[in-house]
Subunit: 163 residues, 2 copies
């Protein structure tokens, strides 16, 4: 039982691509020209036990030369990339947070607006009621006594609410 099967691929021999990570970064994110003690790693053996007499020909302009890990230029590029990655991730995270905050702000704004709507609706309904009442008064031929208009408090609340 040495097969923690989890890959959904079919017949795929496990190809172990060992990668040796040697890092020696300073805390600062400057350009560490001086690398701390170089730790030599297990010698990489380009063993190419390919299927029957494999040949890695066409070295001129093919794909990718196996980038020498020891190369100075390699390290330099890695360093740069690491920096870029860090930056990118930071931005990504920042953006996520901003978005989250935006949600909060919008939610707040929304509540504010809804409250306002409620208020306006209420006001409107009150005014409408007044209008209706008045209309009734007129229709009922209620002739307001000249002078002090009593505005008889008819408890007639006609709910004409439309929403």
């Amino acid at each position: 039982m040495s097969r923690p099967s989890q890959p959904k691929l079919t017949a795929t021999d496990h190809n172990g691509v060992s990668v040796i990570q040697s890092q020696a970064h300073a805390a600062s994110s400057s350009l560490p020209a001086a690398v701390a003690g170089l730790q030599q790693v297990p010698q990489l053996v380009p063993a190419n036990p390919s299927t029957g007499g494999g040949k890695v020909l066409a070295p001129s302009k093919m794909k990718k030369p196996p980038a020498d890990k020891e190369s100075e230029e390699y390290r330099q590029r890695r360093e740069r990339n690491n920096l870029a990655v860090k930056k990118s991730r930071m931005r990504s995270k920042q953006k996520a947070m901003d978005t989250q905050q935006r949600v909060n702000e919008l939610k707040e704004e929304n509540e504010r607006l809804e409250a306002k709507i409620k208020l306006l609706s209420k006001e409107l309904s009150v005014l409408k009621d007044l209008f209706l009442e008045h209309a009734h008064n007129l229709a009922d031929n209620v002739q307001p006594p000249a002078g002090a208009e009593g505005s008889s408090p008819a408890p007639n609340s006609t709910s004409t609410n439309g929403q």
Copy 2:
């Protein structure tokens, strides 16, 4: 994503000595990344070049023994962790997208609400104007002619708009 972690550390000062990554994952990506022909066996572990008779005291319960990369259990744990990591990241990403969409929805809702407010405000102002006009008519001693009340629409549109 806001993971209220414990604010304990200050500077994540990590050292990385030499990490041997034995990637034994099958071609997860269906990308033709056919490039590695490097079959290397991490045959060993860096001996501990301690300065002056290093001593691994207290073998019973102490720090972490540099987990044997060859160990079966190690691989198993790694595999599990890799899975967990994948899962976690997927969720994280999903959540980010959801949040973004939430922003869009809220924005829309906001516009809707603002439009509604505008409408209600307009209605209200109209009604208020009517009221004011009427009040003026009354105050102006406009005595409603008994009998046929024509409700003469005085073309006097006094814009008394407030708000």
